[in-house]
Symmetry: C2
Subunit: 193 residues, 2 copies
């Protein structure tokens, strides 16, 4: 009747080709949602705008995501997953993860601006919508994980997370088209003590 709201589909084999197509459709809708958020903000997310972005019918987005909240949760989960992967790459790589994070933050001024804006709007939304909060917290926890590879101080880790968040916010409000990654990493490193 209705589409599976959870995930559960990747476990074991999905023999039914229809369900497989359904999963593809699902991620396609999430992608479209993120495109809308990036372009028009979280307030622009609508069953209709998402459907138009994806090139499908409004009814179809409703078939996969019964409510707007479901859609937003799925979108935030998607960007959080992507962010988790990037942070983990930084941690696992041999290079300095702090510099890597500084580069990631500095990106928010240029090519990554829309992405950073989308993440920020969804996180802000999470403060008000309980359904989004666990995922928003997981987003921050990634940075905390990275910080803990550099320090054992709880206080320093807290500061590190807050800094990377606040620095990104500052960049999004400034006009500076090219913030200095060294300046950012210097601030981050100072917080690690």
């Amino acid at each position: 009747m209705t589409a599976v709201s959870g995930e559960m589909a990747d476990e074991q084999g999905v023999t039914d080709g229809r369900k497989l197509r359904g999963q593809r459709r699902r991620t396609q809708i999430i992608e479209a949602t993120l495109a809308v958020v990036r372009r028009d903000g979280a307030a622009g997310v609508t069953h209709r705008t998402v459907a138009k972005e994806a090139g499908i019918t409004t009814s179809l987005t409703l078939y996969y995501f019964a409510t707007l909240d479901d859609l937003l949760v799925a979108a935030l989960t998607s960007v959080t997953d992507a962010y988790t992967r990037r942070i983990r790459e930084l941690i696992d790589a041999d290079a300095d993860p702090v510099s890597g994070l500084a580069d990631l933050i500095a990106e928010s001024a240029g090519s990554g601006r829309e992405r950073a804006l989308a993440e920020r709007e969804l996180s802000t939304l999470a403060a008000r919508r309980p359904a989004l909060r666990p995922t928003a917290r997981r987003w921050r926890e990634n940075v905390a994980d990275l910080a803990r590879t550099q320090t054992s101080s709880r206080e320093a880790a807290d500061a590190f997370v807050a800094l990377s968040d606040g620095l990104c916010a500052a960049i999004l409000l400034d006009d500076d088209p090219k913030p200095d990654p060294h300046h950012i990493s210097a601030i981050l490193r100072a917080a690690l003590g």
Copy 2:
């Protein structure tokens, strides 16, 4: 015909009692707007919701604020003015301004949660709406002013501003009903070097 969009009314005497009443109406509408933002978020701001909150006609809010952006700018300006006053009190008082700011941030978990949420949502909105950005920057500049009374390092001041922003965001996403002001001020002080 249309209401004055600027301020200009407090300079010299406003002899016209009608204009005086108009100014009162104006601030009343702004108050109502902020009440809506606190309760339902910036997305809930509508000519109609604001009018209902203020107990007046929808047409009247439109008479004073022709567009929704005008309304949001006025609202953000109002909270920024209030914030500026509070920060200046902290600076001018004899007590330690850093502890004062830490208390202010810690408040975001309890009684000040709605206020902090409103400020945050409007600031986030500013990243996308140019009309809001100067005011949003002024908001952050207040904290920078406070920081500059404690350090001469540009880097430390930048970190201080980003920290107070990021710490507030963390509190809004956490469930902790009573964050420790000492912990916050310790982190802030560490950033000052």
